[in-house]
Amino acid sequence: MVEEIGTTEEGDLIINVGPQHPATHGVLHLVITLNGETIKKVEPHLGYIHRSIEKMCESLTYRQFIYVTSRMDYLSAHINNHACALCVEKGLDVEIPRRAQVIRVLMDELTRIASHELWWGAMAMDLGAFTPFFHAFRERETINDIMEETCGARLTMNYMVPGGLMADLHPNFQKRVKEFITLYKLKINEYAELVTGNIIFQNRMKGVGYLSAEDAISYGCSGPTARGSGVSCDIRKLYPYEVYDKLEFDEVLETEGDSFARYMVRIGEMNQSIKIIEQLIDNIPDGDFQAKTKVVLKLPKGEFYSRVETARGELGVYIVSEGGTTPYRIKFRSPGFSNLSALDHMARGSKLGDLVAMMGTLDLVIPDIDR
């Protein structure tokens, strides 16, 4: 732990970024040691939004604890709920109906697009461009409306429950998703025109925050952060769950390892998600949306683990059961925490102004890091 104010013995300046700072997107506190304008060390201080979600989950039943996980990574709330539901289903050993599986994948991919759109807007805003933020929110609003219609909420849906889904799809769902796909294809060119091709943006991103493939693995990075360094780590491809093994999509890989590579991975992922949605939207099978489960769920004694690919990387849910109605121990392996640990390595030796670009491409969600 370094001093939080003043200078070090060598005469380096110590400055604090956050916990209330617009570029950290939440209550992240970075203690930065500076030599002139060059970063010597970045030390994240966590705990400002720690709500002890893991301990809270241990006092709730297997039906109840899922709603809390929406509050971890609130931008991919569906995918968090999905991971928990998968883990409980693994323990119960139930096979969920195919209709529920397809709807779950559809919702996951819509959430992924919504999350990446918000990231894209916030990323551009960090670098000083305010307009893209509104462009991104325009498309994201369409997804939020779809979620509101089917799940009843815009961010914390609690739609995926052990055994399937909470409710069936809204009759308008297919029509509105198709409308969204048309809108998205119309507007995605704007993203390239406004930001991707912009020379100022490219110069601020290229060669900034280099992370080699070896470092990405050793820091435990996952998701677009690792895939920007050329590490193949897409859980949807490597350990397929639900219907992902029957779908055609590519794992987006870039090998440069800099901020621009991570940016391009996320843009590519949005297009892949649209591809997945297009394959599924007309082929939702008929049938039940929920498997038959008991009213009170009891997991057998043992340990259960499930992993999914959220918009930020790999989310693991680990449940230890003693045979009762509540978990004995629950642990979430969140992607944000591991990705943040690579920030110090990336930032050393670069200038202070580049730190914002690096944090932007890590796509940090602080409640996910702190839990």
């Binding site: 604890f65 799940c151 909420a153 704007e190």
Partner: protein, 158 residues
Amino acid sequence: MFIVKYIKEVFNAVKSLFVGLRRTGYYFTHHKEIITQQYPDNRDTLNLPERFKGEVVMPHNENNEHRCTGCTACELACPNGTIKVITKFDIGTDGKKKKAIDKLVYHLELCTMCNLCIIACPSDAIVMAQTFEHSVFDRAELTKILNNPGSKIMEGVE
């Protein structure tokens, strides 16, 4: 050639800025594509979807009757202790004691709108309402009693 490459780079850089500016200019001159909603001025025309989870309410029919049997399934399903069912014993028409609700206390300030109570209810006595403007000046106003005063259970609901 170094000079040609340099000029090309400068040209492409300036061009990329103008491509972005053209898009901005397009929206500057096309007012019809603005999608901003003027809340709260549009309150009368604002339609929320019927599944929107705003708050828990208990519907009553015209005879001031509800469908709640006081089984406390919602109380057990709630993760936050939002719902508290207080039961009493009514004396029915046949002289027998019958369990009924005295009060169904609902703490809106604790509710996270997770919908678990609605699913748990076996007699569909509670539903989600589409209201969303919940701000009040006094916190005590958020603790609500869902059944109307003097209400009874509907005939035929067990």
